[in-house]
Every structure is written in C-alpha cells, then in structure tokens.
C-alpha cells in the first residue's frame, strides 16, 4: 500500500502529492514515470515523477485534476493510499555534459523538468530554465527551479507574472541575443512542445520532449501509447517517454490523446449522478 504523506494545492486544480514508495524512490531516475490507479474500478494513468527521496522513501507527483482519475486523486488526503502504483517506468533521461541546456517547462510540466534540471546541472551543464504558465498561479515550483538552474525566465500568457507571451517568445529572445544553446528539453502541454520543436528546428537546436500519452500497462504489451516518430511507430512507455522533438508527429499524438474525450466527460457526469462528488 502506498500511503499519501502530503498534499498541497498550487491552484484549485493543480496539486502535488508525496507518496510513500521506498522501492521506487530508490530506483527512479530523472525522466521516469509511474502508473497509478485510484480505486478498484479505476483507470491506469501515467504520471511523471517530479521528485523523490530515497532515504525517506517517498516520491512526489504533481498533477492537474482534469479527468476522472486525476480528480479522484485530488480528493485523497494524507493517510489515504493509492490503490495501485507501479514504476519506475520508461527510460531515464540521458544525462551528460552538453554545455548549455535550456529547460522549458509549461504548467505541470515544470514538475518533471525539475529533476532533469538538477541532474543536468550536477553533470556540469549551464542550465537555463524557462517556466511558462497561463497565469501567475500556474507557474509552479519557482524556488526549486531556481535552485536547480543558473538562470530562470518566467513567462505567462496573460502577463500576470514575468514576461508576457509564450515560452517560444522567450526562447526566440535568447536566440536573438545570440545565446548558445546546446540542448533544449521541453516538457508541458503537447501544443507547447510542438511549437517549441518547430522553433528550435529552424535553428537546428537538438530538442527532446517528454510525452505523456494514454497508457494501460506501461510495459510495451498493448501499444496504446504509440506515437509516430520520424515515420516509425514508437511505444512511449518503453521507447520513451523522451523523443527527438523534431521527429515527433505532434498532430497525430494530440488526436490520439483526444480519443476518449466524450467518454471522459461521460465518466465524470456518471460519477456526479451517483453523488460521488
């Protein structure tokens, strides 16, 4: 049983959760994810590991309550347990010295960007981080990212905090200033990763993106997580979750993410009708 140790809301929908998981905490590396279920009738969903502490035996997840499962998860309190937790899954980020690494985190994507920034910095890279959100409250973990980076740039859609605009505007600005960037790692909403990749492709800057697709097993058995990468089908759970952003077919991936949109709504409505929320 994986007990929830702490829960904190960053905004009405975005929260972080510390979960007891000593074996996973010991083993996980930056870039990996877990699969959880909240109840016996629950769906299996992948969540990226935002942080972990091997000696204290916990991992941290940062979640946005959007669907049925993430909403159910947001209702759990410290002392409750996750019904199921499996991991760490996926391949870890390949950490080496590149020079300057630009970390781009959008929304809850900032959370999984954090351990990668930490590891990249520890490997001797200069880490510049761009944190983006729709508004100030959605720019999370600023202090932690500052500690893991040499420089942090904040961007909000509405200008309520930092620079007004998109993360791509901030990247463009760095490029225009003549900053040398050796690697970009972008984690966030698919559409953000798509536009970051389009931009960096123009300047031929190697870019990795971390994909979060629909999954079931997370072990390569079902193929539900497949994406097209450079005209090849890849399984995000075993081949990823990180891929070359210049090769990913984002439009197809976004389409696949919307596969159950109507049923997701039905699932939530059904729970409401039963008075489950």
């Amino acid at each position: 049983m994986n007990k929830i140790l702490e829960k904190e809301f960053f905004s009405p929908q975005v929260f972080r959760m510390k979960v007891e998981a000593p074996e996973i905490a010991r083993k996980r590396k930056a870039g990996q994810f877990v699969i959880i279920r909240v109840s016996d009738a629950g769906e299996r969903i992948p969540l990226t590991i935002a942080d972990a502490n091997a000696s204290e035996g916990w991992i941290e997840l940062v979640v946005q309550a959007v669907g049925k499962t993430t909403t159910d998860l947001s209702k759990l309190s410290p002392g409750d347990s996750l019904h199921d937790l499996a991991g760490p899954l996926g391949r870890p980020t390949h950490i080496e010295k590149h020079g300057t690494v630009l970390m781009v985190g959008g929304g809850i994507g900032i959370a999984p960007a954090h351990p990668i920034a930490q590891a990249m910095k520890a490997a001797g890279n200069t880490v510049v981080s761009i944190l983006g959100g729709r508004s100030k409250e959605l720019v999370i973990m600023e202090e932690k990212m500052k500690a893991a980076s040499d420089e942090v740039i904040i961007v909000t859609d509405d200008g309520s905090y930092g620079m007004k605009g998109m993360v791509t505007d901030a990247i463009q600005k760095l490029i225009d200033e003549g900053r040398k960037i050796d690697l970009v790692i972008a984690i966030g909403p698919p559409v953000m990763m798509k536009f970051v990749s389009l931009l960096t492709k123009k300047y031929d800057i190697h870019t990795l993106v971390s994909l979060n697709t629909i999954m079931i097993d997370g072990t390569g058995m079902c193929g539900g997580c497949r994406v097209s990468v450079g005209n090849e089908s890849k399984f995000v759970c075993v081949d990823g979750p990180e891929f070359d952003g210049h090769l990913v077919n984002f439009d197809e991936m976004m389409q696949r993410l919307s596969m159950y949109r109507d049923q997701e709504k039905e699932s939530i409505d059904h729970a409401c009708k039963l008075g489950l929320r």
């Binding site: 074996e23 996973i24 083993k27 279920r37 109840s39 009738a41 629950g42 769906e43 299996r44 049925k68 499962t69 019904h83 199921d84 937790l85 499996a86 991991g87 760490p88 899954l89 079931i216 097993d217 997370g218 072990t219 390569g220 058995m221 079902c222 193929g223 539900g224 497949r226 994406v227 097209s228 089908s233 399984f235 075993v238 197809e252 389409q255 696949r256 919307s258 596969m259 159950y260 049923q263 997701e264 039905e266 699932s267 409505d269 059904h270 729970a271």
Partner: protein
Amino acid sequence: MEKKELTNKERLAIPPQKMPEQGPKERIGNVNEVPYGFTEEMAVAEAERCLQCKNAPCIKGCPVEVNIPVFIKFIAERKFREAVAVIKETNVLPAVCGRVCPQEEQCQKPCTVGKSLKSVDKAVQIGKLERFVADWEMNQAGSESPSIKPSTGKKIAVIGCGPAGITVAADCRRAGHEVTIFEALHKPGGVLAYGIPEFRLPKKIVGREVDNLVSMGVELRTNMVIGKIYTIEELMAEGYEAVFVGTGAGLPMFLNIPGENLNGVYSANEYLTRANLMQAYSFPNTDTPIARASNVAVFGGGNVAMDSARTALRLGAKNVYLVYRRSHEEMPARKEEIHHAEEEGVQMNLLQNPVRFIGDDKGWVKAVECLRMELGEPDDSGRRRPVPIKGSEFTIDVDVCIVAIGNASNPLIPHTTPDIQTNKWGNIIADPETLKTTKKGVFAGGDIVLGAATVILAMGQGRKAAQAINEYLATGAW
C-alpha cells in the same frame, strides 16, 4: 452394490454428451460464459465412454501428462474428489485448462474412441470432464491445499503471474521453497486475466486459482515491473537463488500500413485488456473507456482474433468482420472458437488483406481498404501462400479496427540482463528440457521463450522448469 462392467461395444455406443450452452442471440448481450458445463449425469455418462486403454495414448498428447484414464475412471465411479486430486498431481489449473486447452489437438486427438468412431469430434471429451471436476471441486466447501514439504529456506523469484509462472510457483512451493511471484500488472493471471475474455474464462476462476497459491504460502507482489524496479541481478543479490522468467507475450505486432495510428485502431492486446482486465464493458461504472463501434474489422485468424471479434459483438457492434488473408481451412484458431464466432454472427471475410486505413477529418478510422487474395504455392509453414489479386481493391466501412496478428518479444528483461541470450526474434533461449537460460540460476518459459504458444504449453514448460529448479537448488549443479 456392484455395477456391471460395460463392454467396449456398449461404451462406444454411448453418444458424446452435449454440453448445454447459452444461445448465440442471448449471449452476445452479456459477457457470461458460453457453455454451462456438464451436469453430474452427463459427466458420468461421458466418462463411461472411456475404454481405459492400457497404453493411454491420451496421456502422451497432454503437455503436462495428466493421468487421464485414472481421473476419468474416478468420474465414472462418481468419486469426483479423487478425480480432481489425480489431475492436480500434474496440473495446477484444471478449471482453466478444461476451458482453454486445444484438446482436439492434444489429448483427444489420439483417443481410441475417436479413432474407432472415425472422428476426433467423437473422442472422449476429456477437456469437458476436466472442467466438470474442477468446477465441482470449487463448489465444495474447503478444498484442501496440496501438501507442502518442510521449508528449505531457499528463495525463488517467479517473474510474471501467468500460466507458466503459476505452475512454477506451485511446483516449487510444494517442494518447500519460499516463492515470490512478481507481477507487472495490478492483477495476477497474466493472459488469463488480461487476454482471454470473461465469456471464455470467468475471471473468478482465475482468482480462485491464484488464491490457492497464496494459501499455499506463495507471496504475490503485483505492480512490480521487473527490469525496472529490480533487475534480475538485483533480485539474485537479494537472496533469490533461482529466478524463473515467465513474462509472456510482448509487444503487439502491427500491420505497418498507412493510417494505423488513427483513432479507433487497436492492437488485440489493447482491445482485450481494456475489455477484460480493465472491465471497460462496465463503463461508466468502471473508469476505463473503450471505443464504441457499429462496424468493426478484426485482422487475423487465430484464437485472439476470435476473442476480439466476439468481444466487439458484446460491446454492441452491429457488424463484425474477421478479415483473414487465407481461407477458412488455414485459420489457426480452434474449430470450436471459429464455430462460436460464426454462430454469433461474426462475418468471415476470407482471402482478404488490408492495405491502408482511411481516416475522417477528426482523425478517426472510417474505412479500411483491402485487397482480395488467392492461394498460391505452399510456403514454409506448409500452408498455401496468399497472393494478392491485382486491381481487386475495395473498402469496408468501419469505426473500430483490431489488429490480431501476434506479438514480438518484450525486451524489458533481456535488455537489463545482458547475460541472458535471446534468439533473432528476441525470445529468450532456454534448454527445452530444463528451461535453463544462458545465465546461471535463471530459467525461462512460456511465450517469452516459445513466441506465441498456448496456456497449456506454457504450463508444460513451467512444470519442467520447476523440476529443474528444484533439482538445481538441491544439488547446486548447473
């Protein structure tokens, strides 16, 4: 009271008993099991058909060598408990095997009764009798656990709680070893849980068998993806002296034709896992969705293709087309499964092969383009090779497609255990008799070794592996 022994002639005159089952119209509206099973009377009558041949050709046809004539004799004498005990000496999953084994290819094929009556369909229905006694036992209060030898203090790790792993766990536990099963999914059973549909194998039966293991003292750890949370090396460092790898089928194969990543195109593994393991047929009472469809095309001709097609019907499809590139005769599925599928209204689109999926403007599959085929010369498998007929393209309107053309092997364990050798298909190389891999202390069996096999073949390997493991732990000799 002495009952008069029947003569062989009298035995041969008893008609094969017909197992009652749900009618096709009714059953596609539910997920309940199709055949109801024999009544006691039917089982006894069927058992009386057995000639008790001295040479027992049936036993040689069984991958785990169940002592068939003896258990059947007990049924004829209404000694059902004794009958189950005989089966369980060599087969830990009789309720499962009675349902899903291809008996017509195995024990029933060489049956003398079938031979005398000139039809394998008239052989003694060994599988149905096995199912009958296994089910009988489940309905009795307090079935006894098999006896377990005193603890040896030695630890064995079994990776994967499918048919192979369950067999190894049971046989090694009986020998007195401490056994831990590591299962990647949240539920035990492997393909019995995620793959084979409820209407062919009720999940409560699988649950019962696994409970039995646990009550024998086998430790079961779910949600443990070995290769990730622990490597095999790490397990051995933790004190597991022997490891059995039974991780099963791996990556689903796709057709590699345009449009395969459109919404609504599934691998059979995914479709069946959503329906069975995740119980999508109860959605929205359960949380996992599955695409609803009126017109479904399934590609493939094996048992998994039949399971997918019949699942699609139960999920409400109006038309289910089974698209197979060869003819009826070459279909690898069991006759009984094909028959059930046809009875339920699955349409057999034979000698057809898909060439591309066509999507709508929202990225959903709306049609599949196929080519007609004809049979040419026999290929390596001995079956006549299907050859496309030029210019025969046509389309089928569909809203869901299911690709059921097999699996490639899963690289998770071989990748993290470089000293376990694999063949060119990525399957683990294991000695056919001892199931030893190239790494000392590590054994492997089931689909990860065989590619695509059956439940019973996986169990057969599990038995051999358990024997070899018990021997290895006793002698230390590799």
